[in-house]
Assembly symmetry: C2
Amino acid sequence: MKNYADLWIGYNKRQQGGDCNRLKKIYINGSSGSDRITENAVHELKNGLKSMLDIDPEMVYGQIGAPIAATCGKEILDSEEYCISLLDDGVSIDAKSGSGVLYAVFDILRNVSCERDINEVYASGKTVRPSNPLRMLNHWDNMDGSIERGYSGESFFYIDNEIVIDDRTKDYARLIASIGINAVVINNVNVKQAASYMITDRYFDKLAELGEIFAGYGIKLFLSLNYASTIEIGGLDSADPLDEKVIAWWKDKMAEVFKKIPTLGGFLVKADSEGRPGPFTYGRTQADGANMLADIVKDYGGIIIWRCFVYNCKQDWRDRKTDRARAGYDNFMPMDGDYHDNVILQIKNGPMDFQIREPVSPLLGGLKKTNQMLEVQIAQEYTGHQIDVCFLIPEFKEILGFKTYCSEKDDTVGDIINGKTLGSRYSGIAAVTNTGNDFNWTGNYLAGANLFGFGRLSFDTELSSEQIAEEFVRMTISQDIDVVKTIVGILLPSREIYERYTSPLGIGWMVQPATHYGCSVDGYEYDRWGTYHRADHLGIGVDRTDKGTGYALLYNEPNASIYNSPEKCPDELVLFFHHLPYTHKLHSGKTVIQHIYDTHFEGYEEAKGLAAKWDTLKGKVDDEIFENVRERFDRQLVNAREWCDQVNSYFFRKSGIPDEKGREIY
Amino acid sequence: MKNYADLWIGYNKRQQGGDCNRLKKIYINGSSGSDRITENAVHELKNGLKSMLDIDPEMVYGQIGAPIAATCGKEILDSEEYCISLLDDGVSIDAKSGSGVLYAVFDILRNVSCERDINEVYASGKTVRPSNPLRMLNHWDNMDGSIERGYSGESFFYIDNEIVIDDRTKDYARLIASIGINAVVINNVNVKQAASYMITDRYFDKLAELGEIFAGYGIKLFLSLNYASTIEIGGLDSADPLDEKVIAWWKDKMAEVFKKIPTLGGFLVKADSEGRPGPFTYGRTQADGANMLADIVKDYGGIIIWRCFVYNCKQDWRDRKTDRARAGYDNFMPMDGDYHDNVILQIKNGPMDFQIREPVSPLLGGLKKTNQMLEVQIAQEYTGHQIDVCFLIPEFKEILGFKTYCSEKDDTVGDIINGKTLGSRYSGIAAVTNTGNDFNWTGNYLAGANLFGFGRLSFDTELSSEQIAEEFVRMTISQDIDVVKTIVGILLPSREIYERYTSPLGIGWMVQPATHYGCSVDGYEYDRWGTYHRADHLGIGVDRTDKGTGYALLYNEPNASIYNSPEKCPDELVLFFHHLPYTHKLHSGKTVIQHIYDTHFEGYEEAKGLAAKWDTLKGKVDDEIFENVRERFDRQLVNAREWCDQVNSYFFRKSGIPDEKGREIY
């Protein structure tokens, strides 16, 4: 690497993967080369090929308008679609717009970067349309420069309540465009203080400039919106979505905003959640709130992305009837069909909050007449703070592949969010992102694999975790086959290892309150957040069956029956759905308590194994990368040991049941 | 009250407690009236008598030098001693210095304020010498304005790293002088950032001014010292107390400091504790560090108060041999006799850290050749944050009355710190104080009783908790006998009630980490602070006997044998010293588990009872005071309920033993 902070757009010297002569002439059909995205794409291509292969390609611009893909003969209809094919004297890119050209360019650069033979890769042509319409990153950056749940420094968008535009801004646009991201929300969903003034003159100029930079890479700028803007900056005494004064204020405001920030894609809204204001305050539904805003921004081509993370965060831990897991479903399902066309409901992957293991939200597959986006988190809030290695792509694959039984027998979450199942025009996937102003963007260098992987997966849901991991390593660290194997071997099992040394069997939440790093078995047990394990002397788990909170029945069949039964429920989720005695036998043949002991002892040992693997790379990878990750592993092992010993001690002290294998418990 | 923030120096209108004519003429013997303290005292007296009784006394200054007390005929020798006697045409104050006059004046004002008949009170004369040489308040104020463990606003000494001197400064001096305080440390023992520069030109002028104001009320100014000043502000590379360069630097520095702040009394030092630097870093003893500084400040009449709060704050919770309770003793006892004459060891009342119930530190009574000060805390760090009512004077009385068996059979902690047992010249009592810039100084108005009470008790150890509580109410709230009875009835049992609904049987530490407010039974159980309850399915408590950590044996006999035996150990401390089964029978006849259930249910009910008592005062006390305390009670009851239910649920879930009385446990 020239610079280890360049990640996968570093373009350092590569070996030729076969004959590269064709790359000396690149035909672009469908673009004159004069639009800004194509200009940026061609600049990227020339720069990349020069650096990697010392090739300075001749560019030939051909047919304008929707081209016919040279190889497959199909017309290219989608603006983000592209086709790459081989000509006798060069490589042809067919696309309908600059975005298509851009993604084609990054396709070529990626294959060159991975030292693949382009003559093989593109032998029979390659036509690509992104899997999901919206592929989005959500920044939880505050305007004071802090990042909520940020583990890689401060914000690079804000310093002291001012918007910063510098070299890094464009680098960031390149970085995320290269993996297929086409939308970014640049401020925290918890819109506080200065951020409420994003939609005022105070920030319009900078936002317009930022929007233009992003637009040059096919990325739409979105803002998180303060639902109570009418009160906080508008001087009104209400934020009631049916109040004429409120509607009038928003009409004027949105006219102003879209005029001042012409590239704006729309807004993300967290309302009625964790202390944020919302329509519930006025006895209105979530649909009332979302539709009011959506109708107004529609004239400007804007969309409203409305988060479903609405629950009672002041629950009484004594109350076993209220179930936070039900909240999203109970709050949003009744209005299915009422949300207007340019509203998207953004649904967290699970019903709780980004735990290491949760069932898929029953809204995904429950909602049948509503635009939906899946929200995942690559910021490792509950999964190791970018200290512990936790490659999340296998989890995202599981989620996307989950069968919802929504319409056809095999309809998956992936089918819903890509628009197939419901015929949605607006849908997609968003990740709460993991970047900051750390030199290498993500703190732990290996956390970069989650950013890379999220982008790649959102663009092409069919990619495997292994393919993604391998590409990440090849593009950022090394082409050496042993190095690649070693690092892929660290990444792939890391999520299950993290799960093993932390919270067992889908129960979640045994974390330090506030920070969410490190073990505290009872940390949330007697608190107001609706996050309980209900462990006593005899057993553990939350009864979410028909005899308990009924949550299991919110799923389509056969999921409902599977989850409702302790015998059928998959082991990894069994304590999420059932309160079971420690002596209950799992499918694995182990008792619950022995499973707890075994997975914790083994998980800690496995974490040590990951660190030992990394140690073998000393001298084989860039020293800065080696030391960066090595230092994190030291901390991960301290963390893993605490989890292991605390969880085992807690349950041994509580159950009084000894470990069958007689290992040391405190 | 004219102003409810005036506390006990408000001097509003009082009924005459008998014939007040004698107060029209006040003789002062021993002072010409021209020293600043006497001037301030006389001003206070005139102002107070005018406001309370509309009397404008004539002042007559008599015999200068050490007078003979008119009534008892004894010569007054101590500068803080005074005698008040009745003459035919007036009242006589005999004192050797302005301080004596000052305390006499406040004695008279207090009796008038309580509407006592001065003809009775002083009928046979009253000669008073304060119980303790040093009666000190320790402010944990940081120079940025925050207060560590402060629950009544920000600092009134600092704003934005500057020292503030305003009306409140003098009011504060009056307020604490009136209760007998004669020394104040104005900055946090954790000396950080700007506070390290207290001993430089940056702050000398203001400190000199502040010192003068305090001196006018008989109060010595002390500073907390950064032990690593040689490094942090001196530019040296060491703080080794035996290093000649270090010693030379301190000599120059102290010459400068005492020249610039002539009223300075000396320094308080927290070294080698919780991350603070100290002599251990250089392989030296605590005595080496303290003596080095003491030798240098001796020339200026200065003293070094050295805190004994030294322990390993990075303990492994798995380790059952290391015992934080032992740390103070183990670190300081070996050098008993080595500490120089102007060193005082400041010892927290218990071996841990201001829990609601701890045994008395074994250093008190262990050290036999060392000056000692007792450190208590009126800031309610672990005792309700000045939200929950917790009148601490009964606790302080227990501590002062604790028999150490140090020399004679009945030598108490009080005897050690007043200098009697060891013949100490420097000794006394310090409280970590509870004031801030809240309008009423202490947040909860009733927390003012702890400030008042600490001062009164440090001045006169013989006062009862009831006397102190009654004086506080009469001087600040009301003379109405029912009101007085009601509030005294709230204050007196409040500490035991707090104990009952929080942590049982001396175990402590079941608090929310970091904040120390609210229940978290396992909050410190798996952490590094050496603060564990070791509860498992069968029992609870820490074995500190000869079979455990041996801590119990650090006491003089018969205390050691009593604490070492689960049968002899007092119930309220039994889990501090012993790990016992839940089924162990206490002296009360109850099992440990039933004691836990009973005290928690009862403690919460009793807290409700306190609130109900307060509610009867509506309309009978100042509205502002009523609402201030009422609002705190609301919060106290939420807190008490959480403690009750969480502790009971925790132990029921862990032990599986039901409550005999079948009350609801979750």
